[in-house]
Subunit: 448 residues, 2 copies
Amino acid sequence: MSTTPRTMPGVLELLPLEQAAFQRMVETVRRVYELHGFVPIETPVLELTEVLLTKTGGETERQVYFAQSTGSLEQGREPDLAMRFDLTVPLARYVAEHQNELVFPFRRYQIQRVYRGEAPQRGRFREFYQADIDIIGLGELPVTADAECPAVIHHVFSELAIGSFTVRVNNRKLVQGVLTDLDVDPEAHAAVLREIDKLDKRGPEYVQQALGGFGLSSAATARLLDFVAYSSAGIDAALRHLETLTAPNELLALGRSELITVFETLQGLGVDDGAVVLDCSIARGLDYYTGTVFETVLDDHPAIGSICSGGRYDDLAGMYTNTHLPGVGISIGLTRLFWQLREVGLIQTGQSPTVAFITLFEEADRTHAAALATSLRNAGVSALISDAPRRLGKQLKYADRTGIRFAIIAGSDERSRGVVTVKDLIDESQSEVPVEGLAAFFQSRGTR
Amino acid sequence: MSTTPRTMPGVLELLPLEQAAFQRMVETVRRVYELHGFVPIETPVLELTEVLLTKTGGETERQVYFAQSTGSLEQGREPDLAMRFDLTVPLARYVAEHQNELVFPFRRYQIQRVYRGEAPQRGRFREFYQADIDIIGLGELPVTADAECPAVIHHVFSELAIGSFTVRVNNRKLVQGVLTDLDVDPEAHAAVLREIDKLDKRGPEYVQQALGGFGLSSAATARLLDFVAYSSAGIDAALRHLETLTAPNELLALGRSELITVFETLQGLGVDDGAVVLDCSIARGLDYYTGTVFETVLDDHPAIGSICSGGRYDDLAGMYTNTHLPGVGISIGLTRLFWQLREVGLIQTGQSPTVAFITLFEEADRTHAAALATSLRNAGVSALISDAPRRLGKQLKYADRTGIRFAIIAGSDERSRGVVTVKDLIDESQSEVPVEGLAAFFQSRGTR
């Protein structure tokens, strides 16, 4: 022993039962993404530096991890590889590189880890999972595609069963239309939107003051803040509100009509239970977005912030190709979400993926136990045989501590009668089950 | 457009339908690992260099990728992070670090990518998936645990349905017992085993010559080669062979008795169809292994080499802890396996995870289509609506090119009768299905 075993700061390494819970979350997200017609891709963690970092400067770039092999390091070379810091730039590279082999609209999901060399702090991670979907059009993409994102978000968070949530929808054109109406310099629109995006975190006073810096009169600022203060109770109310909006310019008219299409499409998809709303304050900080934008909050945990965000963008991969690729997408930060849900006690970490633990009284029982295990596994029920014959209490403790719910006990008496005793380690009940009905016993309990 | 989009050499980036096939392979491996009572863990890609590289020198270490953040690079520091090159060292670190929170025997599976800065060459990858299982004991681990590995391998490769395969089992103590009997210096045992391990690749003449270098007489060499030439037809034959072996020393006796336990346990687990054999030539190159060793070959594709290997080791984490942690495990190199199977045409890449494609004649159909899509998704059937009303032929072509098997057509006539037409794009059949029976129609076809 010479080295203290430890991870680098800023990573979330999970114990096995936590990892199993995380895995269930990933599987749910993947399943819902697939139910909505998205197909998987994965990209390498390492990209060529000159390909990954096409934009100069910026916060994101300073947080990049660079990599090089031993050989390159020894030769004193500069690292020519970098680790992806999100899934969007790799998507752009992927679509541009493979555009002749892909079919458009291209609907991909991607669930992989990304890397950021941030200063470690509570709840911030240097390595974390993102789970993204995007729909990419070739030259054009109907605005009905935008409606798919809140529908998927709604489905994912309903399935994850982590409490009530709200998907906030808006359209940057709508607010930009108001800014145009208020004679704000179009060059300043992006900066104004970034200030409006801070409403949630910094409050209206801060934003009011910041907007003054853009030459807005106090009356104009008041009108703007009044406009973005609107949040609907659901889709019906959103549509009624949008119909009352006057459209003094094309931008506002376009934003309004896009939002109407999005909300009507969502109604068709049955997403109409009040969990999807129009929130005119949602702007997203990124200039990248050009139309519909999304955020998602847990109603009982607003402090967590947005757990799933995204929007419509005009061109995915301008840095790699002249092909015009408009798209729309969302991203869930799974690691951070898991960590936050665990903090507030919304993650169940007691359940092993293993359903049945088969005890041994003596080593000679192993053949019988093995036959049981094999028949259970062949029926899709996960099973495990005790490593050795030990005191029964010790074996049951092993099963319990590893999160296995059911223990199977088969003494010579039971074996002679063709039954086993199944002990439920959660409710402490026990029942005698015929060997030939054992798999069905577990299957009927919905366990895998 | 300024940058050519491309990946670094030596990575296998898949197109969506290939990725879906790869994903099915991963899910099968994961499911079988869980059926056998293994629980997931994941470790960070980046480890502290001093923790990851505890052993000095060696081929593996020269292939490591080192990483550092922008800040560290700018300050001219040496990289203090490294990317994992296998899943075994991170497992050792994990078990040593969390030993007080784990329950032993600790049965973990881990399916993650690893990184090696190798010179790129056909079929060798710098980033690739490994899928490992290990059983780690605290202080001791019964040899019956060793039998679980071939049982899992057998189950995995049966489920993957990639043709007939053979799991070759041996025990290093057996051969070392013969070496002891032949008066080979114990210090030279490991080196001799490495030569024997080359039998498959270099042939008996090469090995015969190499063994001469260890002072073995030609009679002794002949006896050794004769001993390792044995390969059984199955488990019964293996047990009969083992019973005939004389054991002139304890090492040979121990190797023999361990192998008998392994094969008898395998019989109990029902793994007795000739696909698991005793092969006395299997030695594995790594000195790390101390007892049972495994290799797996595809019978029709011997040139591929071992697709799943592993064995018993005496102590997992001696570099991190004084706790004695014996274990046994196997590893499948999934990326390489997938690539090789694709090369020989054993991978089906035509099938999208999306089952149903819903066509549109006009935009007004979207509400009806959305209701269909939502009811299918709620029943667990993946469905996708055409992005826009286009010529029917064009829509069917989209479905076909994206690997979606079924297209749903619902004109006004069909809608008035409460039915839809389902077109099977593979066998080109079509049938009329009542809307309320649509989900069941797809479920009965075993599609997801």
